[in-house]
């Protein structure tokens, strides 16, 4: 559907849907729309993005939804909480910009966010 054909209601909805780019470990890129208030993990699962396991379903208790936030985006996303940091202790190849994607809530500020998914989440 081209922009001219889109109804104002649809356009308004699209404006509030931030886009997130996921880059898998083999370089495969996916740019998808994310629902405000959902999480970067949920958006990945909804869009069949590889490399996210999310064993515990978003409870911050398994560390199998690790992503590496793009360095330019890390200041916007922010650092992990202590609870999340404790779970990051049980993840692998953790870097300065690693986060658990279930703990990143989608907001308008995150429009354009780039994250990389790892090759291995511990299982």
């Amino acid at each position: 559907m081209s922009l001219q054909e889109a109804s104002p209601a649809v356009e308004a909805k699209k404006e509030t849907m931030p886009k997130i780019t996921y880059i898998e470990h083999d370089g495969t890129e996916h740019t998808v729309e994310a629902e405000l208030g959902s999480t970067v993990m949920e958006t990945a699962l909804k869009n069949d993005i590889g490399g996210i396991v999310a064993e515990c379903g978003g409870g911050c208790t398994c560390a199998t939804c690790l992503v590496h936030v793009d360095e330019k985006w890390f200041p916007v996303v922010g650092p992990p909480s202590e609870e999340e940091n404790q779970m990051l202790d049980t993840a692998f190849e953790v870097t300065e910009t690693s986060r658990l994607s279930c703990q990143i809530k989608v907001t308008e500020k995150l429009d354009g966010l780039i994250v990389r998914t790892p090759s291995y989440q511990g299982r």
Binding site: E55, C56, G59, T61, A63, N85, T90, F92, G122, R123
Partner: protein
């Protein structure tokens, strides 16, 4: 010497669905033993979200994983189930009609009339670090559990992790190790504060080493480690070691279930939705591990599945008896079993 335990039903998995199955079986006078690889009751509720709220248990607006486990334990108390914790079922064989043999890695053998697999996402097993070339060292000089402390006497040990397992084994093995190095990604530990203090005191006294970083590479040959490279923020250090113990928590793996001759689809067990029986008569699968059209991985679905399973299991356990369906609200005989009449 291995012991053989005879019972009606063996339930593999002591999560909420396995626990409630005890209740439904118990109402029908069927005795159960439960086996779980975790050292505690509750399955994912205990391991993944003990303190997290669950909002979709019918009639209970809010309960934590631990809360639900405790409530189920209270509910099944009249049926006095036997638990075998910290054991993994390794083999399951059908010997004949209503006759199964189940064995665990702790050397126990069970003979029973039915088997109920309520294993959720599989068995919780240690996470394996993705270090290139780690496989040949596993179970030779890289261990995910300590079975005998004596095996580590006089050895140069590397313990990796920041939780209670890493800290506890650091404190237990430090006195007998030749040298012990604890490796963790940051200088903060989530383990018990007392253990952290004890570990820091040992480091301050020069009796062990603490390295902040992540294991990047292993050196050695024929399964025997000689050193590990620890990548820190600025530099990579080489630490000599005879054995490495990584403690990164647990993850769910299907485990031996796949080898028991059960028909499987994408690591799930297809079942008949009238009985929750698998392709093997007398063998049932309930909860997250099964699959059928419309399946939802919800605790409440697992409860329903357990109730229907028990009805079918009754016919294997008491082939000569007729089953009359009764309600706990009105049946004196059920209330007697529950100890309330």
């Amino acid at each position: 010497m291995s012991e053989t335990i005879k019972t009606d039903v063996v339930i593999i998995g002591a999560g909420p669905v396995g626990l409630f199955a005890v209740f439904e079986l118990g109402l029908l006078d069927i005795k159960a033993h439960l086996i779980d690889i975790l050292d505690k009751i509750g399955g994912q509720c205990a391991e993944l979200y003990p303190e997290k709220p669950i909002y979709d248990i019918p009639g209970i607006p809010y309960i934590t994983g631990i809360g639900l486990t405790e409530a189920l334990m209270e509910q099944i108390k009249p049926f006095n189930p036997t638990f075998h914790l910290g054991e993994m079922v390794t083999t399951m064989t059908k010997l004949g009609d209503a006759h199964f043999k189940v064995a665990t890695d702790a050397g126990k053998t069970f003979e029973c009339k039915c088997v109920v697999i309520a294993a959720g996402g599989g068995s919780f097993q240690p996470k394996r670090p993705p270090i290139v070339g780690i496989e040949p060292y596993e179970e030779k000089s890289v261990f995910y559990a300590v079975r005998k402390m004596e095996n580590f006497r006089g050895k140069k040990l590397l313990i990796v992790g920041g939780g209670d397992s890493a800290l506890d084994w650091t404190l237990n093995l430090q006195p007998i190790a030749k040298r012990l190095t604890l490796v963790h990604r940051r200088d903060e530990f989530r383990g018990a504060p007392d253990s952290v203090n004890k570990m820091r005191a040992l480091v301050a006294a020069g009796d062990m080493d603490l390295k902040i970083g992540q294991v990047a590479a292993l050196e050695g040959g024929d399964g025997q480690l000689t050193a590990a490279q620890i990548k820190g923020k600025e530099a990579t250090d080489r630490i000599e070691c005879d054995a490495m113990l990584p403690f990164f928590g647990l993850t769910m793996k299907l485990g031996p279930v796949a080898d028991w001759g059960i028909k499987m689809e994408d690591e799930l067990i297809p079942v008949d939705t009238g009985t929750f029986e698998t392709n093997i008569p007398g063998l049932f699968a309930i909860g997250d591990i099964n699959t059928y059209p419309g399946k939802l991985k919800l605790i409440l679905s697992g409860f329903h599945e357990g109730a229907l399973m028990a009805q079918k299991a009754f016919h294997y356990v008491y082939p000569e008896k007729r089953l009359v369906f009764q309600y706990t609200t009105s049946s004196t005989s059920l209330q007697k079993k529950l100890g309330v009449a």
